[in-house]
């Protein structure tokens, strides 16, 4: 436990020491909120869907946590390039502890980024329908964060360079994000898109966030929770198995 705590602490310290990372990871969601929230707001309203910013914020929080968590895998690649990875993998510590300690640390910072976006959203006019319910969203954000940091540790342990890592981001994570219900409602989309969204774990995270922050849900919160739990377990197992074969 002590080892995992220190590996967690390492991620937290590095996060607070890197102002550029905090600011940089806020830039993209802010842009989405402003450009989409205000840009498409009137169209959305005209279509009789209500307030687009309200609808959008849970999606953008998921986006922030998703990409911050993916960034954790890039940090493993940096650790390899700067040599620190060698220090951890010759240590008499099980790979599982190294992987989990770091992934929980990465997930913690990703959730902090998500909460930062939540605060910005409040400043832009977003209001959760019920504050007590809204606080539950931390659980969903944490589940997403840990799933994705575990996944990205798995990726980081066999992808050798940033190019390869970016390719996974481009061809897997971005599509999953855009094809989830994060940016638009899934009610009026073509069937193929609906099917993709329904097998996409990001959709369920976003749906659970909307349930807790807006009180509306498409799949039902029970389904969301089951989907999140399965995703979490599968990705931790994936990450742990890949990480076992990591090489410096």
């Amino acid at each position: 436990m002590r080892i995992m705590y220190y590996l967690w602490l390492r991620q937290i310290k590095r996060y607070f020491r890197s102002k550029s990372r905090i600011v940089g990871a806020i830039g993209q969601p802010l842009l989405f909120l402003l450009a989409l929230g205000y840009g498409l707001g009137s169209v959305y309203k005209a279509a009789g869907q209500g307030n687009y910013l309200q609808f959008l914020v849970p999606g953008i929080m998921a986006q922030t946590v998703l990409f911050s968590s993916m960034f954790y895998g890039a940090m493993i690649i940096f650790d390899r390039q700067f040599g620190f990875l060698k220090e951890t993998i010759v240590a008499p510590v099980s790979r599982l502890k190294i992987m989990l300690g770091g992934a929980i640390g990465g997930a913690t910072t990703a959730v902090m980024q998500g909460l930062l976006v939540f605060i910005i959203s409040l400043a832009l006019g977003f209001r959760p329908y019920n504050w007590a319910m809204a606080s539950i969203s931390i659980i969903f954000l944490s589940a997403l964060a840990l799933s994705i940091t575990a996944f990205s540790s798995g990726i980081g342990s066999f992808v050798q360079d940033m190019q390869g890592f970016q390719a996974i981001n481009q061809f897997l994570v971005f599509p999953l994000y855009f094809l989830s219900g994060a940016l638009y409602p899934l009610t009026h989309v073509p069937t193929w898109l609906k099917i993709i969204a329904e097998i996409n774990p990001i959709s369920y995270t976003v749906d659970a966030l909307r349930w807790s922050m807006l009180g509306t849900s498409r799949f039902g919160i029970i389904h969301d929770c089951i989907a999140l739990a399965i995703t979490l377990i599968v990705l931790i197992v994936f990450g742990a198995l890949r990480f076992r074969h990591i090489e410096a």
């Binding site: 220190y6 310290k13 590095r14 700067f82 040599g83 620190f84 220090e87 240590a91 008499p92």
Partner: protein, 262 residues
């Protein structure tokens, strides 16, 4: 105690380490001497579980390196040839994380860190981020870190590359003492003849992945009927260590190191 028998490592069809066997006794300081590309680091990587041998057997403290990885890892310390510190942590934090990973008793952690950082003259800089350190300072930090958990076997891969003479002497003094006091076995690589001669009980000369000869400096000189280790080396390998061909990358790296000396 280190024992390698018929150790071989191939990268594709290139043989980096070719059927090497040697034994290092407990408490001994043992040098692997050879030019760049000889296979020294590859040998150390296999001994420290970082690389799997293509064939051959390795034992460390009576543990089978391939089969008892965790026990093996507990019993050695290593200073890698290439940097391996976390630049975004302070010197102290780097040491502390290492202490935790190696289960150093909590009561002793602080005093050991203080002793070692003082030894390598970094105690005043303990709370500075390592990214503000020069190459030589990082090197010293890595050496202090490698000694922190009092390993039974210590691997030093070109430990003094880029260090000034004073720090070198300090380091070898401390390592020598520790080896004596704690019966610590030390295997180090170097391409400085004088360093091998001054600090090693026995020297193994290695070139093109092959182990050419093992013995004390005196034995190597006697065997080659020469009166300096330099001449013995020349006789054994057919070339001088200094004007070997060195890859441009190595030249760049060692220049970086010496530029960053302090």
């Amino acid at each position: 105690m280190i024992e390698a028998s018929h150790l071989t490592k191939k990268f594709g069809n290139f043989t980096a380490v070719n059927d090497i066997s040697f034994k290092v006794e407990a408490g001994e300081l043992f040098a692997l001497l050879g030019p760049n590309g000889a296979g020294k680091s590859t040998t150390i990587k296999m001994l420290t579980t970082l690389l799997k041998p293509t064939s051959g057997k390795l034992k460390l403290n009576d543990y089978d390196v391939a089969k008892q990885q965790d026990l093996t890892r507990k019993s050695f310390g290593i200073v890698f040839q290439d940097p391996s510190v976390d630049n975004d942590l302070t010197a102290y934090e780097n040491m502390q994380l290492h202490a935790v990973m190696y289960n150093v008793p909590r009561k002793e952690t602080d005093s050991r860190i203080k002793e070692l950082l003082t030894l390598v003259e970094l105690w005043d800089r303990r709370d500075h981020l390592v990214k503000t350190f020069s190459g030589g300072m990082k090197r010293r930090l890595e050496i202090a870190r490698g000694l922190l958990h009092h390993p039974k076997v210590l691997f030093l891969d070109e430990p003094t590359l880029g260090l000034d003479t004073q720090t070198r002497n300090l380091l070898w003094g401390y390592v020598g003492n520790l080896a004596k006091e704690k019966d610590m076995t030390v295997l180090f690589t170097t391409h400085y003849l004088d360093e091998a001669e001054a600090n090693a009980n026995r020297i193994a000369i290695i070139d093109h992945g092959k182990l050419l000869v093992i013995g004390t400096a005196a034995e190597l000189m006697k065997q080659t009927k020469t009166n300096t280790l330099e001449k013995a080396y020349l006789d054994l390998t057919g070339k001088e260590l200094r004007d070997e061909e060195v890859s441009p990358h190595e030249v760049w790296r060692s220049r970086q190191r010496s530029r960053n000396m302090r």
